[in-house]
């Protein structure tokens, strides 16, 4: 009984709850932006993360039947109040994005190489 409880506690401690921070994001089959896309999630969608199987760049995500990898920079531990589609729901209603558009939007965010110019000595 004690051993079972210990196993449960260990398992529970490796699971984390995160929320999508970008307007749209993908869960990939493996930890690569070019790997197969399993599904697309909207901003603020909660995901369960297995920290044991995650790296600093890719998090092992679980949601329902889906199990794959999500970009670490696309999620955060709190809801994003500044998500564009929640900030401007009327505007997005007018945009009338289809599923294909949402998929492509998330794909763009996958493929961008990002950077920031900072004075020397300042950490990113």
């Amino acid at each position: 009984m004690m051993i079972l409880m210990l196993i449960q506690i260990t398992l529970a401690s490796t699971m984390d709850r995160v929320y999508v921070q970008q307007p749209f994001t993908h869960i990939h089959h493996s930890a690569s932006r070019f790997s197969m896309i399993l599904t697309t999630f909207e901003c603020n969608h909660p995901l369960t993360i297995d920290t044991k199987k995650s790296s600093s760049e890719w998090l092992h995500a679980l949601y329902g039947e889906f199990e794959g990898f999500v970009m670490a920079e696309h999620v955060g531990d709190q809801r994003n109040e500044n998500c564009l589609q929640y900030k401007y729901p009327k505007f997005f209603e007018v945009l009338n994005l289809g599923i294909g558009d949402m998929h492509k939007w998330a794909r763009l965010l996958d493929l961008f190489d990002e950077g920031e110019s900072l004075p020397s000595g300042v950490k990113k």
Binding site: F34, L95, E114, G115
Partner: protein, 290 residues
């Protein structure tokens, strides 16, 4: 028996309390004003007022939030949404969804921006696998820029990382000077920024107009001579303190000039960025006659 005894005792006690209270009231001992004062002293009234105030504040915040939700995006959010939407809508022409290696351009661009002292610029680079855009910067949020770089174009003139970053710097200057937004904005667009839907209703037509303007600008019109002259001169000023980089920039323009004259795939380059030949002239220092 015990239960009956207990109940009768409780009843007797209650009757006694009631009679005491009635007697006290008759004698004027219970002063309700005094009770009120005690309550005020305890801060109960204050607490009630604070609660009421909190409810009012919540209501006001909710009202503001509701108003914000139906407003047109503020300027910086608008350009980010429009650029992303245009890239989404034109994915088939641009061909950005392809497998590629890490080119390491970001690191080189960071170095160039640090050297020029242009700090606080956040950027995204999207590589495309077609010749429809050779290189171009698009507006995003404040201090955010989205760069498009064509891999076939870079390969056609065999650009090094440093040379690619020089074209990116050129594009960044164009964005900073506001040429892109200026050209693609419909007439009254500014009047919509941050305004509630009821005050200034908008339709998909306005967004479609911006999308058409984006395409016209990127594929057809491009920059004018005056804008090109200003950007080229500005580049010359920035780079002149490091001759090797200035030479690299001049060499890039020379190679582009050769490409647009020899390769029909890039014949439109001159129309979008007029023109590499003129740029070389503008960069060459004027000869001093003696």
């Amino acid at each position: 028996m015990i239960l009956i005894f207990c109940l009768s005792f409780l009843w007797a006690q209650e009757t006694k309390d009631q009679t005491t209270l009635e007697k006290a009231m008759d004698a004027g001992f219970v002063d309700f004003k005094e009770v009120k004062e005690v309550l005020q002293k305890d801060g109960l009234k204050k607490e009630a007022e604070q609660r009421q105030q909190k409810v009012e504040t919540k209501k006001t915040i909710r009202k503001i939030e509701q108003k914000q939700k139906i407003r047109f995006p503020v300027e910086e959010d608008f350009w980010e949404i429009m650029t992303m939407l245009w890239l989404v809508q034109n994915s088939d022409i641009l061909k950005w969804d392809f497998k590629r290696p890490a080119y390491g351009v970001s690191e080189a661009f960071d170095d160039l921006l640090s050297w020029t002292g242009m700090f606080g610029i956040r950027y995204k680079i999207l590589y495309v696998n077609g010749p429809s855009i050779s290189h171009m910067a698009f507006p995003g949020k404040k201090n955010d820029v989205i760069f498009i770089l064509s891999v076939p174009f870079m390969k056609a003139i065999d650009l090094s990382k440093t040379e690619i970053t020089l074209l990116m710097l050129e594009d960044l200057l164009r964005i900073n000077k506001g040429y892109f937004k200026e050209t693609v904005s419909p007439k009254d667009l500014k009047e919509y920024f941050g305004v509630e839907y009821q005050k200034k209703p908008y339709s998909k037509q306005l967004i479609d107009q911006v999308m058409t303007n984006y395409s016209d600008f990127v594929f057809q019109k491009g920059f004018n001579f005056q804008q090109q002259f200003e950007v080229t001169k500005h580049m010359g000023e920035i780079l002149k303190s490091r001759l090797n980089i200035w030479n690299a920039y001049f060499s890039v323009i020379k190679r582009i000039d050769g490409l647009v004259k020899s390769n029909t795939l890039y014949k439109d380059y001159n129309r979008l960025f007029p023109s590499p030949e003129l740029q070389m002239q503008w960069l060459t220092p004027a000869k001093v006659e003696r």
